[in-house]
Amino acid sequence: MKHLNLKSMALGAVLSLGVVTPSLAQECIAPANPGGGWDFTCRSISKIMYDIGVVDNPVQVTNMAGGGGGLAYSLVVNERNDDPNLIVAASSATATRLAQNAYAGMTYDQVRFLGAIGVDAGIIAVAADSPYQTLNDLLDAVIADPSSITFAGGSAAGGFDHLKVLMALKRVGLEDIRTVKYIGVDGGGDAVTQAIGGFVQAVTGDISEVVGFIKSGDVRVLAVFTEERLPGEFNNIPTAREQGIDVIAGNWRGLYVPKDISDADYQRWSDALQAVADSDEWAASMEANGLTEFNFVGDEFQTYVADLMEEIATLSREIGVIQ
């Protein structure tokens, strides 16, 4: 290991001095600034692809923040529509925005969705000292007096974190969902901080965002929005479904590729992605980041995305996010 370090450092120095041109032909675009879920997707998948040897050179990660992913989407559609060396990070948020027509009229079939290889389960949590013990306690309190509860989440109003809460509340019969108080903050960690500080009453987010706080005992997760309970240490968290609220919502981590690449290139990328999904490295990375298994690679993923978007569009129309 030590030798490897020295050698690779020397290599790095050479690279940096420009004696050798690094040929970073393949590129993964994270359509956001460094630090978020898309960035994580690109960086971990690229790293593992290189580590397990399905690509010859490290895949270069480019951050292209803009329009909540819209800028990168438009770049792929308009300028790199046949670039076989390009993958782009996607998630439920991509589908949400496409469904809400937030990408300036572009539609989901203008790219090819490649697959998703992990899902960050949606959760609703409260601070440890909160009086609410079950999801129903919390939702009933909202119905009794919507102004008494503020939810905090990492997405803007109308985003996926917000929609999850509204979906759950609709199931228990809340009529006017516009009275629900929700603040969009800068990510799940921030939302949890606000809840622990007592400024908001509940957090809506993904499990990965609260893992550390669950372990430290600062928050209590009331429900996880998966079909079955999570495996391993979070097995004691009840699902929403078993509490009688039938909502499934998770933030999957996946990729899309330009539409006009050849089927062979599409196959090459799906094989690479599948290899990542099957690797031990990815299993370790999923575990460390609170993701659970969600393996959907290739053409059937396209169908899945289409169905999901249908659902989001219907819901968004119901609550008035889109006309």
């Binding site: 270069q60 109308g158 516009r178």
Partner: protein
């Protein structure tokens, strides 16, 4: 143009106009449906109002202004500005080396009008910076127009 209180008064008046226009365009912002007592318009309104007040105070209590440069200087600055705009527009299509050499050379000539010196500056900066950015920092730059290299 001599230095006087006029320039501050003009600036103050201009601020008021721009602030009002800003408020006017803020009224066009789409509001949300959900519980949001303040909404996306009020903060821009407040900014516009504060700016207009400050502009007004500048109109009634201006400072002694600095001397404005003469017309010739303005033409020179406008020319430098034009070089930069052309540079910005050609950087993508023409690759890095050629536009940079031209822009750097022309700017250099503007600062000190000696032809050979400006020429060398342009070539040197273009090549040197390319090496630094491309290789030391690993930024994705194209040296030449994309068509020239297969």
């Amino acid at each position: 143009m001599a230095g006087s209180k006029t320039s501050d008064r003009v600036f103050g008046a201009l601020t008021i106009v721009v602030a009002l226009a800003y408020i006017a365009s803020a009224t066009q912002i789409k509001t949300a449906f959900f519980s949001d007592p303040l909404g996306p318009r009020w903060f821009p309104y407040i900014i516009g109002a504060v700016a207009a007040l400050a502009g007004f105070s500048l109109v009634i209590r201006p400072d002694e202004g600095e001397k404005w440069p003469g017309l010739f200087i303005f033409i020179k600055i406008a020319f430098a500005c034009a070089i930069l705009v052309v540079y910005a527009l050609t950087l993508r299509r023409m690759g890095f080396l050629i536009p940079t050499a031209f822009a750097a050379g022309l700017l250099s000539y503007q600062i000190e009008p000696r032809k050979l010196q400006a020429f060398l500056t342009g070539i040197g900066l273009s090549g040197g910076l390319f090496v630094i950015f491309k290789y030391a920092l690993g930024l994705g730059l194209f040296a030449l127009p994309k068509g020239w290299i297969g």
